[in-house]
Symmetry: C2
């Protein structure tokens, strides 16, 4: 008895048909000798009915069925009495009167109910992931993920992009995050690495003249994990030749428009806002600003640089900055609420937050008495101060102020309900700095990677002020998340030499590091650039989730364990011998796995 119809697809249009359904028992009720079973498959749930009048011995068999038994039933679709319509069920106007049944399989009682919104410890859900994935919200997320991948592919195929699979067993690179390593059996004491991204291969494909490449690629980083990190993750990896940054970003906007239209039925306005990295840091204290609300950060260093608020003046004098947020209408916050802001600021490295409330036309707060009238006037204008406002000040090094006020802005935005949760607010953050100063190493390091192309108009700065060079690099930001990022790449040898020089090594040293890629660049490299989208994160946002693990069929925990299979695990000594390695016991106690399994 193999299914002719899906449970969830039956409707009044099918009344009168004889159907065969296959599915799982969601629920059974015995009402005076008549048995009702909600039968579930991937498409949804339908009510099937066993009645002595028409079910015969099927009723007896069904009577032994329990939750999660797998049934095959044959029956007739009939319309329900209008008073028994179930508006909660897509199939709520009909039911199936069963004439035949086969129990395809029995089931033990599951450790948690198979239904949406269960309140179950996540580690139990992960251990029984195969049952967790039976829940409709998880199935829908997997379907959304599959559909999203299809939309990416259809769009890119339509734009002449070629999907190319690049290797998973690659050469370990000294750059970037920590590699996962794979010992070689054939070559003793040598190792493969798992790719952190297909970066080098996609650039090689541009040298190969493939012109337009994409891949939905698995990537690996052996880093300590956070809630939105996984040891293996998926990115939509894209590279193109003979396009400039504007063309690429425009094309990617079209891609996002299609993705969001066809998944969540939202019409995204294009072009997306473009905001320079400098502006993003200044106004929002973040390179991935949530632009669904204002509450912009204002610099006031100039106003308070000679202030009697000594901490402001001295920080300004020492090269730091003073910035403020005007939390409109928050003057009524309690003293406790204001006090709680101090540890909040400390979490982001701040030494404190000064505050001013504006009540009954008067500025109040510990520092108010130190302000000169002209400072109050200037601040009133700069910050648009009105009755009922709360002003919050941070003074420190630029980066600390950005972190403190950037996070404070998010907190206040959430607390005040300024965020429209149904909005999708995209922006490109552009003009990233090419180089960052590494205070420890006393040299510049590549902010993106050493092949990132500088802006043409900044090339002259290699000699005078490398730190001021802006890169042709861009991030795509959505609702405060970085969902994509990339850059145009250096393709001319003279620029590449300047870049390596700025990074403090010669072409020979660079060759030791990036040998075969630099060799490749000698043979006619086209202008090229690309982008990678964080696929897990995009699906998470499309699904309205806040946890990456909800979008991955078989995720790992924060301690990089798969609770279902118990991976990683010890292996046979003979396996290690063949790989020419042996393990080294960790001095002291092995960290207990259990406490870290709990997820953020």
């Amino acid at each position: 008895m193999l299914k002719t119809h899906h449970c969830g697809s039956l409707s009044k249009a099918d009344v009168g048909q004889t159907v065969i359904l296959n599915g799982w028992v969601q629920r059974r009720r015995d009402l005076g000798g008549v048995l009702f079973i909600d039968l579930r498959d991937r498409s949804g749930i339908v009510q099937i009915v066993f009645n002595p009048d028409f079910s015969g011995e099927a009723l007896e068999i069904a009577d032994r069925a329990r939750n999660e038994f797998v049934l095959a039933v044959k029956g007739d679709v009939v319309e329900r009495d209008p008073e028994t319509f179930n508006a909660n069920l897509a199939t709520g106007e009909i039911e199936v009167r069963v004439t035949e049944i086969e129990v395809l399989n029995t089931a033990k009682t599951p450790p948690f109910p198979i239904e949406d919104g269960v309140e179950v410890d996540e580690s139990l859900r992960l251990k029984y992931r195969y049952l967790d994935l039976r829940r409709p919200e998880m199935q829908n997320t997997l379907l959304l993920r599959s559909k999203s991948a299809k939309i990416f592919r259809d769009f890119l195929d339509g734009k002449e992009f070629v999907e190319v699979e690049t290797p998973i067993l690659i050469k370990s690179s000294p750059e970037g995050a920590r590699d996962y390593l794979v010992p070689s059996r054939v070559h003793p004491e040598e190792f493969f690495a798992l790719p952190q991204s297909p970066q080098i291969y996609k650039q090689l494909l541009m040298v190969s003249g493939l012109e337009k490449y994409y891949q939905i690629a698995r990537c690996f980083r052996d880093e300590d994990l956070r809630a939105d990190r996984q040891p293996e993750f998926t990115q939509v990896d894209i590279e193109t030749s003979f396009m400039n940054q504007d063309q690429l970003l425009g094309l990617m906007e079209q891609l996002m428009v299609r993705l969001f239209k066809e998944t969540v039925n939202v019409d995204l306005p294009v072009p997306f806002q473009r905001i320079s990295h400098a502006d993003a840091m200044n106004k929002y204290g973040s390179d991935k600003p949530d632009l669904r609300f204002g509450l912009e950060i204002e610099e006031i260093t100039d106003i308070v640089s000679t202030s009697d608020v000594k901490v402001f003046a001295s920080i300004a004098a020492g090269g730091g900055v003073v910035k403020a947020i005007n939390a409109k209408g928050c003057a009524s916050w309690s003293r406790k609420e204001l006090d709680d802001l101090q540890p909040f600021a400390a979490r982001y490295g701040g030494k404190g937050l000064a505050w001013v409330t504006v009540k009954e036309g008067e500025w109040r707060g510990p520092i108010v008495k130190f302000f000169k009238p002209e400072e109050i006037e200037a601040l009133t204008e700069r910050l648009g101060v009105e009755e009922g406002d709360l002003l919050l000040f941070s003074a420190d090094k630029k980066k600390v102020v950005a972190d403190v006020l950037g996070n404070l802005r998010l907190k206040i935005g959430r607390d005040l309900g300024l965020i429209n949760e149904s909005e999708y607010k995209f922006a490109w953050v552009v003009d990233f700095p090419l180089l960052g100063w590494d205070e420890e190493a006393k040299r510049y390091v590549a902010e993106h990677h050493p092949f990132t192309r500088p802006k043409d108009e900044d090339l002259h700065l290699f000699e005078s002020d490398p730190g001021a060079i802006r890169a042709q690099a861009y991030d795509l930001v959505l609702n405060g998340y970085e969902v994509g990022g990339g850059s145009m790449r250096i393709f001319k040898r003279d620029v590449q030499e300047k870049m390596f020089h700025a990074l403090g090594f010669t072409m020979e040293e660079a060759h030791d590091k990036f040998g075969y890629l630099l060799d490749a660049f000698e043979y006619g490299t086209p202008p090229h650039g690309g982008i990678a989208f964080g696929f897990d994160r995009l699906v998470m946002l499309l699904a309205g989730r806040t946890n990456l693990r909800e979008t991955i069929a078989f995720p790992k925990t924060a301690s990089a364990t798969e609770l279902l299979s118990g991976a990683p695990s010890p292996v046979d000594l003979s396996q290690l011998e063949q790989l020419h390695i042996r393990t080294v016991p960790k001095p002291g106690v092995k960290p207990a796995a259990a406490p870290t399994e709990q997820q953020a």
Copy 2:
């Protein structure tokens, strides 16, 4: 100057247009001050012309261009004089008169010409893979691969299959081929394995009620490599619930029909031939028979069991078999050709090949004198012997005879030109044995895997003759290659118990081996089964190639090395320390890599 058109797409329809092209210099010729350059991009080649009359200083710049320089040119499409039409070029009726040029990049002279059919050592091609991939035949193969993946996906999406990504970092399993291992940093002395296939996860997804799953999945096997093996390979992995074998095979035939129609424009006849594993072994000596030609193997044990050809009679008496091939019209083979068959047979474990030629109505050959007249009569009928035939006999254990005559059949088929190289001959090999006897371990082992479902009508044989049980397992065979394989899976506990019992272990021992999968099966497992296609091999056959490496962008050699990057490679000691491992030098000399890099 960013491209407005593709080089290879220009035609007479574009005459009069001004176009911008970006591409690589394929060839330049100077004909009396007029410069002709063949400009190449992914789409093809077009001739561009620099003439003092219309090119101005562009001519001077172009004069410095060499092969593989990257150019941007602007010019007008004009029709060529009919006498200069180039029929070898798709764009051969037009040329582009260049008015502006920009040299986007220069190039060193490549180590081999960028053109099809180059006779270059493969290791040089692999080292400069980025140049090798510029050759049109390689680009076309990558495009074919991308297109094939798209067809698989479009078909399966259309049939309600959901693409799910399963983990790459999984638990090591004691079954199957040798695992690649990945040491865990977080969990000292523990390891992940890379998946040999997503088998367990796809079955778990069926337990999850996903009903229809697919994935174009990377798989890994740390085995010694042959020409058609790679350490990492790609399979199209499919699993479905609530379908039987016939339904699944029928659906997969539709998939192949679409794939071959949309790639090589061939209409495959369906249904594909189905041949039992026993018949395949008997008639073709192979479980992946090339069915593009006949030359079937005939069993003659019954005819010669009492023959005076003593070796036939004694082997028949000892439980062996005697089989023959009738090589029609080969009686004229020389003595040397016949002698050469002896080492050929030996290569497949045979002790020799007896032969008979039929010339001038007479049987000739060393064994003819031992045949009784009635044997000759019976053989004549069984083998359809006619004037001019060559009969070849093998007598040995069943498996040896199959290997010898199976390979002899292929050799003769090729030698005699019996194979239509443009034909695609599919067949399903079905009814594989469920169990094979392991002579060493003195127990049965699973031929496919321990979850393969026996045929219902053979279930009773678990008690009486486990070796005779046929499995609901199938291979898809194309022109002598296995391109896919799979099975229906056991989903009932009682059958699974019988299976484990036949394999010689208790449910408890099985639990130690397959723990979490067996746990999962307790919670309402639907009937399910699936298949996996060897994607690299399918693309190889579609592209008309005989080497898997031609279908993979960045393949590894037979010694599992990537010649381009030099992976695998030594790594920093600090990396190993973090992973709680150290390497163990191999006693004796490290095997030299060079001699094994040469490819079969």
